[in-house]
């Protein structure tokens, strides 16, 4: 079965979805991502869906699930590059993905994750000093 590659960049995991998602692929991605977050101790997950033209309710829910699971494992999920049509569809479906952070493109999404990790390390240093 096909799998979606998960790349590790620094503290973050990068997932670029470039094929049409079917339900089994989405479930597999959720599982792979969860184990990978734990394995590498990732602090952020960046999911690029700029190539996705169709996002159905299942895919929407999977994205929300991934976000919840990774938050539980102390990693922040950022979904980037959503197309206007997809955004409208999701809103019409009532899936507003409340727990998921979003950014316009991968660059900004990465900046968001790095910002968070930088903030936390500063915080840690301040605690150490104290």
């Amino acid at each position: 079965m096909d799998r979606i590659p998960i790349l590790k960049i620094g503290d973050a995991l990068l997932v670029t979805i470039q094929v049409d998602m079917h339900d089994r692929l989405a479930t597999a991605l959720e599982e792979d991502l969860t184990s990978k977050i734990v394995a590498v101790g990732a602090r952020g997950v960046l999911i690029d869906i700029s190539a996705l033209e169709i996002v159905d309710s299942f895919m929407g829910r999977t994205l929300a699930n991934i976000a919840s699971v990774s938050r539980m494992l102390d990693a922040e999920t950022v979904v980037v590059g959503m197309r206007p049509a997809v955004a409208i569809t999701l809103v019409e479906l009532g899936l507003e993905l409340p727990g998921v952070k979003t950014a316009l493109n991968a660059e900004r999404g990465m900046a968001l994750i790095q910002h968070r990790t930088a903030d936390e390390s500063e915080q840690a240093e301040a605690d150490d000093d104290a």
């Binding site: 979904v79 980037v80 959503m82 197309r83 206007p84 997809v86 955004a87 409208i88 999701l90 809103v91 019409e92 507003e96 993905l97 979003t102 950014a103 316009l104 493109n105 900004r108 999404g109």
Partner: protein, 300 residues
């Protein structure tokens, strides 16, 4: 109902007195309203063609039913005339006058033809009257339909024109909404906004609703949808320009906008600037050649 002789009688009457009827009809039309929207020559040719078609239709088909193929040409012609009247801005009464003023000259000819035969006059007048009325109804039908088409087209154009997305600064867009928000319009607004967010790589979009007259639960719902869709794309939304009365109404209705809202566009812009790490400073000397940062907000 119309017997065979009646049919031919009517078409005979029209045939023999065509020139007279045409002249009389034209005189009546011109007398009822000296109109500049349509030239005399044009009106005359329309009348002539119409009379010819009427003669043809009355001689061929069943007079009682204008939906028969015999009347096809007449109906098409009348439809064209009516449609062109509607787009030229004629009133319904003026459009109906075109067909109804034909009654007078035709009745006069019927009377002249039958002389003292009262029954024949009554029969023919009744048949003709019914025919003209039906054609009149058809005229109004087409007129109304073309007006509705015009209205629908204008509605579409307004929807397209009234949803501009303007760029205020790098990464900051503004969407000044004017007029009532219905679901069709929200769709257009949403699509425009989201596309502009992609085109300008915007981080913040300001939705200004100063020009929205009323905000009820439905409109609020539409606004929230737009905000949610923009957020999914990775852009933050700020709603600005909620008028005092509208704010009161919304609170009374129990509508809650769960988004950042500011009283006016300037405040929203200030928030947007500070979120993108910029600020507006006043130059020390207020000269006519002030710095860009100082001048921009003044022109807002």
């Amino acid at each position: 109902m119309a017997s065979k002789s009646e049919k031919s009688r009517l078409s005979d009457i029209i045939g023999t007195h065509e020139a007279d009827i045409l002249a009389e009809w034209l005189r009546l039309l011109l007398a009822s309203g000296g109109d500049t929207r349509i030239s005399r020559g044009q009106l005359e040719s329309q009348c002539r063609e119409f009379l010819a078609a009427l003669r043809e239709a009355t001689s061929a088909g069943n007079i009682a039913d204008t939906m028969t193929p015999g009347f096809e040409r007449l109906r098409t012609m009348l439809g064209d005339i009516s449609r062109s009247r509607a787009t030229q801005g004629f009133s319904p009464a003026e459009t109906a006058t075109f067909i109804f003023s034909l009654k007078e000259p035709l009745f006069a000819r019927i009377r002249a033809t039958h002389g003292k035969d009262g029954e024949a006059i009554a029969d023919d007048t009744w048949t003709l009257s019914q025919l003209i009325d039906r054609l009149g109804l058809h005229t109004m039908d087409v007129y109304q339909r073309s007006r509705e088409e015009v209205i629908a087209r204008q509605h579409e154009e307004i929807a397209e024109l009234s949803t501009p997305v303007v760029k205020l600064w790098d990464g900051i867009l503004a969407l000044p909404l004017i007029g009532t928000l219905d679901s069709a319009r929200t769709q257009v607004v949403m699509e425009n906004l989201l596309q502009s967010i992609v085109d300008h790589s915007a981080e913040i979009a300001i939705i200004d609703i100063t020009g929205v007259p009323t905000v009820d639960t439905v409109v609020a719902q539409h606004l929230l949808k737009t905000v949610a869709a923009a957020r999914l794309m990775g852009a933050d939304c700020i709603v600005s320009g909620i008028r005092p009365q509208i704010a009161q109404t919304m609170v009374h209705l129990g509508v809650e906008l769960t988004v950042v809202s500011k009283a006016n566009l300037a405040d929203a812009f200030a928030v947007a600037l500070s979120r993108t790490g910029r600020f507006v400073a006043k130059s020390k000397a207020p000269t006519s050649t002030g710095t860009m940062t100082a001048r921009r907000p003044a022109t807002l």
